[in-house]
């Protein structure tokens, strides 16, 4: 297969949300010794841009977007070891640790936020639902994410977002991570009250906020490798 043909196929798998196929083509690229960054930029990202355009014009729906994000993730997983070994770790926009706070099992919104962030080029580590403050802290310590995102849909579980922030402060980890909060019950006012760095009303806002963090992040500025283009809504 020609390189150009492979790139076109990569783009197509994203466009059609063909998750398995996206991974297979990535393995093919590795076999053909194609630079992963080039494959991502000339292949998959083209598909993502098109998905973004189709979503904007109303032809694509959220499930199309989520499937595209999943396909992208699959491809990136294949490239991951190669990118790491080349010490281009900060290839992505940044890393986001995401979870729904303790006592709360709502995960639809968090899942959408996660997929959109993946589609926007972030690496997302989803801790799931009912995540204790300690577990959030451990994740921040171990994974050293750029951003921590917490979802809460219940007025009774919102205070747990505050708990996490307090625990981060106690452990002197607060300055190492940007905290964004969201979920139906959460408001901008609440986010300010608990000294979160940002509030996101919906998944688009979560992406915008994260991009702003990425743009101002020192870690990212030091990174010269091209960042992956993002879906623009």
């Amino acid at each position: 297969m020609q390189e150009q043909e492979l790139f076109a196929k990569m783009s197509h798998t994203i466009l059609k949300g063909e998750i398995e196929e996206a991974g297979e083509l990535a393995r093919k690229a590795v076999e053909m010794k194609i630079d992963p960054i080039v494959a991502v930029n000339n292949g998959y990202t083209k598909g993502l841009d098109e998905v973004g355009r189709l979503f904007r014009t109303g032809e694509y729906f959220l499930p199309d977007l989520v499937a595209a994000g999943e396909a992208m993730k699959h491809a990136l997983d294949v490239f991951d070891p190669f990118l790491k070994s080349r010490k281009t770790e900060k290839k992505l926009m940044g890393t986001v640790v995401l979870g729904t706070v303790e006592g709360d099992f709502h995960d639809i919104g968090k899942g959408i936020v996660g997929s959109m962030l993946v589609a926007a080029g972030f690496e997302v580590i989803d801790l799931g639902v009912n995540v204790s403050a300690q577990k959030f802290l451990n994740a921040v310590k171990e994974l050293k994410p750029d951003i921590l995102g917490m979802s809460a849909l219940l007025t009774t579980t919102m205070p747990n977002q505050k708990k996490v922030i307090e625990l981060l402060e106690e452990a002197q980890e607060r300055q190492n991570v940007k905290v964004m909060v969201g979920g139906a019950a959460v408001t901008n006012k609440w986010a300010m009250e608990i000294s979160a760095d940002a509030y996101g009303e919906d998944a688009m806002a979560a992406v915008t906020v994260s991009e702003q963090f990425a743009a101002t992040s020192v870690k990212n500025q030091a990174n010269l490798t091209p960042t992956i283009n993002r879906i623009r809504m």
């Binding site: 959220l62 099992f105 639809i108 007025t155 205070p159 139906a184 998944a203």
Partner: protein, 489 residues
């Protein structure tokens, strides 16, 4: 002054089906297949032990129970088809007899359009008192569900008990909280209920509250909810589980597939309850919907909801267990055209398929914002639905052939005795605006919203529900204090 009126339930005559008996059988079989092959997550050791004893196959590490269809059917057969939801005042008892349909409030909102300022603000315990008081007055609203909003001004650990107190003291109607979601809270709630009716045995005979839980779709339940319902069922307090599968997100995109999830998630916890406490009063509940395809949001309205409301009613009738159908609950942000369209259909469809309970009126934005005006206007929608569903009576008296003969060609019926005898059956609006144009303009162009505002204010100023004896009020406070001691760390 106490302006108490009798509850206006609906005895629907009109009947609408969307599923054939064959369709129902297929959904039932699919649900059984899923419960047996895939299983349902019951993240409670207690629940898993009960299910295991009955013959379910348990995966302890994933906390999933695969329940054979024979176990499901044996258990479900034990559930009573009919029972009563009691009111603190016995004239407010609701007979779930398969013939009546009762309306409640919507519940668990987090914000309120303030009645005085119109500004959106956080909800508090006072809003529960006010909305319970309006419930007590409105004859359309048969019971208080939720509570309508969360009491965010009291500690989260004991919030459900404060909410229950606010409801018990401001209405004598039945109360169905959706917030009794841990075993300790359930025990205190039962203690409160028992105190009011005069003991735990009396509560069993006269359950003045019942407990609604949420299922964790797809194919899952919540630990606290399961354990709270088990202790409630043991005390004879009716319980039910409400799945809200969203097509495309927590359920398949197809409505039949969504109904399979709805059935499994609503039925499987009832199986557990019947195994543990055979014959305990239980109910189905459901609010299936479709995801908004652009935002992923909970739509709270739309034709899919209405179709599934009828369909799931038919499925519950097949199991012969009462259903509480999630109705009204518009996605609109204000009491506007969208809210009226949503709530008219969402109210009508479950009634046409003879649901027992309808939850409920007064919240906007997918059950998040309380509007007292919407509460009043939703009651009016219900009133129209009642008239519709009760159909047309045809007999000698209603055919009125004698009267027609007497009035004859070109006459009118205004002065007829027959007219005065039957005119009260003609629907009369409370907030609909039917004033002539000029009068409407001169009066400042006031429509339904203004009338609803005035009505809500009037009720709050004038209606005084039968108070709870002061000794009992003290007892409720004592129980809450004990709970605070135990539960607030």
């Amino acid at each position: 002054m106490n302006l108490k009126r009798n509850i206006r339930s609906i005895q629907p005559k009109l009947k609408m089906d969307v599923l054939s008996p064959d369709d129902i059988a297929k959904i039932h079989e699919a649900a059984l297949e899923i419960m047996e092959d895939v299983g349902v997550r019951f993240p409670s050791e207690k629940a898993l032990n009960i299910l295991e004893q009955a013959g379910a196959q348990i995966d302890r590490s994933r906390m999933i129970a695969k329940i054979p269809s024979t176990v499901v059917m044996d258990a479900i057969d034990k559930a009573p088809a009919h029972y009563t939801l009691a009111g603190r005042d016995m004239s407010n008892d609701l007979a779930l007899d398969g013939k009546h349909c009762y309306l409640s409030t919507d519940g668990c909102g987090i914000e309120v359009y303030d009645l005085e300022t119109g500004i959106k603000r956080s909800s508090s315990k006072k809003d529960i008192e006010d909305s319970a008081l309006i419930t007590d007055y409105q004859d359309c609203i048969a019971f208080y569900w939720g509570p309508m909003v969360s009491a965010q001004d009291v500690p989260a650990e004991v919030r459900p008990l404060h909410e229950l107190e606010a409801a018990f003291t401001h209405t004598t109607k039945h109360i169905q909280p959706e917030t009794i979601i841990t075993e300790p809270i359930a025990k205190y709630a039962i203690e409160m209920g028992a105190a009011i009716v005069g003991g735990i045995q009396e509560l069993r005979r006269h359950p003045i509250f019942s407990v609604m839980q949420c299922s964790t779709d797809p194919l899952g339940q919540d630990k606290g909810s399961l354990e709270a319902s088990l202790v409630s069922a043991e005390a004879g307090v009716p319980t039910g589980f409400m799945p809200m599968p969203m097509s495309c997100a927590t359920a398949p995109a197809t409505l039949a597939g969504n109904l399979v999830i709805t059935t499994v998630d609503s039925l499987s916890p009832l199986v557990l309850i019947q195994i543990a406490h055979p014959g305990a009063p239980v109910f189905f509940a459901a609010a299936p919907t479709a995801m908004d395809l652009r935002t992923g949001g909970y739509t709270g309205g739309g034709p899919e909801d209405h179709l599934m409301a009828i369909a799931f009613n038919q499925i519950c009738a097949f199991y012969n267990i009462p259903l509480s159908m999630g109705a009204y609950a518009t996605g609109a942000k204000e009491p506007d055209w969208q809210a009226a369209v949503d709530n008219s259909f969402a109210g009508l469809m479950p009634v046409l398929s003879h649901t027992a309970l309808l939850t409920g009126v007064g919240l906007l934005y997918g059950s998040q914002i309380l509007s007292y005006q919407q509460m009043i206007m939703d009651c009016e929608i219900y009133d129209i639905i009642k008239k519709l569903a009760e159909g047309i009576e045809v007999n000698e008296e209603t055919l009125a052939v004698d009267v027609i003969k007497r009035v004859g060609v070109g006459g009118n019926f205004l002065a007829e005795k027959h007219t005065r005898k039957h005119m009260h059956n003609i629907w009369q609006p409370v907030v609909f605006d039917r004033t002539p144009y000029d009068a409407w303009e001169a009066g400042g162009k006031k429509g339904a919203y203004s009338k609803a505002t005035a009505k809500a204010k009037w009720i709050l100023a004038n209606h005084k529900p039968t108070p709870l004896e002061s000794a009992l009020q003290k007892e409720l406070k004592r129980i809450i204090r004990a709970a605070e001691k135990e539960l607030i760390r």
